[in-house]
Subunit: 356 residues, 2 copies
C-alpha cells in the first residue's frame, strides 16, 4: 500500500442520509484514474478527487461504445474490518470483457491494489446499516478523439465508489417477471458474455414495456430461437425443479455472474444437484403446470438473490413458491450476505480483507 | 436563420492541410449543443466553440450506452453555394433511433436549422477538393449521473463537423471482403436497425480479425441462422445477379441507409429491377459459380459506393466483375457525387441548399 499517488480532496463532501442511499446516486470523495495510450501502454493509477472528466466530443466511446465495466462491493464487517467480495473474479472478468471489445488488457493486481487503496481512503463512506455496502464501479472508456470505427489508441480506466442502501428496504421479497419475446438482449457471436454498455442500452426499452405492464423485470430468451432462458433483468437465473437446481449454461450470450458462481458452489456444498444446461421457457412452464417448479430466483451483485414470485409468458401466468421467497433463495441470501458481513465463516475464502 | 444563440471562438483554429484530411480527424471551430432534462424537455440549441465536454464519471452513457448518432455531409457546389444531402432523412432516422433507445424525441426542424446555422458559420472549413466534403456528426448522450439501468432523465445533443478527404485518394477502387461466420453484429429484436454505439462496439473485433487476414471489411450475416446477408462493414450492400439488382430487405437488424434508398431510387429510374429480399450467402456464391454475379458494392455516406472485388466465405474465394469496379457501381458513384457537387441536375430534390 501507499505506492499510489494520491491527490486529496480539500473539503470532504457532506455524506448522504444513510437511510436514503438508494443505488448508485451518491459518490465518494475520490476516484481512481489510469490512462492508456498506444505509445506508453497503461500508465500508473492515480487517486484524485471525485469530479467531472473532460472528454473531446469526438471521444470514441461516445460514438462507437468501446467500453467495459464491472460491479463489485466492499462491506464493513461486524468487527469493523473492511473486506471486498471475490474482487479477483471481477478483475479477471473485466479483462475478458476487454478482450471481446478489443481494449488492451490491464494488470489485474495493479488495479486491484488501486481499488483497495481507494476504498481504504474513502472508508468513512462505507455504510454500516443492515444490507448496505459500498458499490465499486470500475470502467474503461475509449477516449481517443476520432470518428473512425476501429479500436481506439487511448483509454481511461476509472473506478468510482457509491454507498448503497439495502436493495430490499422491507427485507428480501419476490418480484414479478415478464418473459420478453420481442426484444432481444444478446445473441451468440455478439457481446452478451461481456460486461459492456451496449448490452444494457439494448435492454432499456423492454424493461420499460415490462414496467408499464406492471412487471418489475424482464426474462430474456436466447436471440436465435427465442426459446431458451438466458437471464433475468441484469441477473443470472436459477430454478429448482423437482428437487434439482438448474441454471442456463454459459452459452456465449450470458454474463458469467460471480454471484452465479458463488450460488452454484454453495448449493453443491449443501448436497444439492446443480445442472448448467439449456432450459426452454416451455419446459419451465410445463414443470410449473405439473407443480414441479419449486423455486426461481435471480442472482447478482446488487440484490444478491432476487426471488421470483410470478412469471408471465404470452397468455399464461404462473405463481412460484406460492408467491413467497423460496426456502433456498432465503438460505442463499442469508448465507452469502452473512459471509459478506463477517457473521458467518468464510469457508470458500471469498472475502479479501483490506489491511490498514 | 439567426435565431440561435452563438458564442464565437475568439481565435479560429489553424485549418489542416486539405490534402491530408483523412476521415474524422479534424474538427471545426464550433459545435451545436442542446440539452434535455425531464423537467424542461429539450431546450433551445446553442452554438459554442468546439471543445471538451465535462461529464460526471457516472454519466449513464459511459455505463449503459444510451446513445444515438447520425452521419451526413455538406458540400461546396461547383458555383460556390453550400448544400446538404437529404438531411431531413437523417433527422427522421435519428428520432427513430431515439425511439429504440428510449431517448426523448427532438424537433427535427429545430435541430436541422441549428445544423444549417453551424455549417454556415464554419463554412470556411468545407473543403473544395475533388470528393471532399464536410462530415456532420449529430449525436445524443445520456448525461444523468446515476448508476441505474434505465432511461436517463438528462441528455445532451451535440453536433460536430469534420472536413473529410476523398475516401478513395486514387479514385474509386474495389475492396476485398470476408464473410464473418463467428461474430454477429446485430439480431432481430436487438438494436441493429438503430444507429447506436453498441452496434459498432460489437463489430470492432471481427473487423480486426478480417484485417489480420488481409481483408478490408466484413460481410455480416444474420444473427439467427448465420445464413442471410445483412450489411458490409458499416454499409448496406447490393448485388447485381443475372441483370437484376438485389439488396437485403430491412429485416429489423439492418440500418435503413440513406445512400441505400438513393441507390434504389436511382437504379429504378434507370429502368433496372431492384428487389429487396433475403439473400443467403449460399445463393450468392452459387450465382458467382455460375457466372451470374455481375456486381457487388456497399453503400454509405462515407464512401458513397464501395465496390467489392473479392469475397471469401469459408474455404471459397470469389472474384466479382473481374476484381474491377462494375459498370453500375461506377455510374452510381459518378451520378450521386455529381448531384452532391452540383454538377448534375438534382432530379430527385435531394440537395438542401444553405441560404446565406
Ligand atoms: C447482464 C448481467 N447478468 C448477470 C449479472 C450478475 O453478475 P454478478 O453476479 O457478477 O454481479 C450482471 C451484473 O450484475 C449483469 O449485468
Ligand atoms: C451499420 C450501417 N449500415 C449502413 C450505413 C449506411 O447508411 P447511410 O447510407 O445512411 O450512410 C451506415 C452508416 O453510414 C451504417 O453505420
Amino acid at each position: 500500500m501507499g505506492k499510489i499517488q494520491i491527490v486529496r480532496r480539500e473539503q470532504p463532501k457532506t455524506k448522504p442520509d444513510p437511510e436514503k442511499l438508494g443505488f448508485g446516486q451518491y459518490f465518494t470523495d475520490h476516484m481512481l484514474v489510469m490512462d492508456y495510450s498506444a505509445e506508453t501502454g497503461w500508465r500508473e493509477p492515480e487517486i484524485v478527487p471525485y469530479g467531472p472528466i473532460s472528454l473531446d466530443p469526438s471521444a470514441m466511446v461516445l460514438h462507437y461504445g468501446q467500453e467495459v465495466f464491472e460491479g463489485m462491493k466492499a462491506y464493513t464487517l461486524e468487527d469493523g474490518r473492511i473486506a471486498l467480495f471475490r474482487p479477483d473474479m471481477n478483475m479477471k472478468r473485466m479483462n475478458q470483457s476487454c478482450e471481446r471489445l478489443s481494449i488492451p488488457p490491464f494488470d489485474p493486481e495493479t488495479v486491484l491494489e488501486g481499488i483497495v487503496e481507494l476504498v481504504s481512503l474513502d472508508r468513512d463512506w462505507i455504510p454500516d446499516g443492515d444490507d448496505t455496502s459500498l458499490y465499486i464501479r470500475p470502467f474503461i472508456i475509449a477516449t481517443e478523439p476520432c470518428l473512425g470505427v476501429r479500436a481506439a489508441k487511448e483509454y481511461k480506466l476509472i473506478v468510482i465508489l457509491s454507498p448503497v442502501g439495502s436493495y430490499y428496504p422491507e427485507g428480501i421479497h419476490p418480484v414479478s417477471i415478464y418473459v420478453e419475446d420481442q426484444f432481444v438482449r444478446a445473441v451468440r457471436g455478439g457481446t452478451g458474455a461481456a460486461k459492456t454498455s451496449g448490452n444494457y442500452a439494448a435492454g432499456i426499452k423492454a424493461q420499460e414495456t415490462a414496467k408499464e405492464q406492471g412487471f418489475s423485470q424482464v426474462l430474456w430468451l436466447d436471440g436465435v430461437e427465442k426459446k431458451y432462458i438466458e437471464e433475468v433483468g441484469s441477473m443470472n437465473v436459477f430454478f429448482k425443479i423437482g428437487g434439482e437446481v438448474v441454471t442456463p449454461a454459459l452459452s456465449g450470450s450470458i454474463l458469467a455472474g460471480i454471484t452465479r458462481d458463488s450460488v452454484i458452489t454453495m448449493l453443491r456444498s449443501w448436497g444439492l444437484t446443480v445442472t448448467e444446461r439449456k432450459i426452454s421457457v416451455e419446459e419451465l412452464f410445463e414443470a410449473a403446470r405439473k407443480g414441479l417448479l419449486e423455486e426461481a430466483f435471480g442472482t447478482g451483485t446488487a440484490a444478491v438473490i432476487s426471488p421470483i414470485g410470478t412469471m408471465k409468458w404470452e397468455q399464461e401466468q404462473i405463481t412460484i413458491a406460492g408467491g413467497n421467497t423460496g426456502e433456498y433463495a432465503k438460505k442463499l441470501y442469508d448465507t452469502i450476505t452473512g459471509i459478506q458481513k463477517g457473521l458467518l465463516e468464510d469457508r470458500f475464502g471469498w472475502m479479501k480483507e483490506i489491511q490498514e
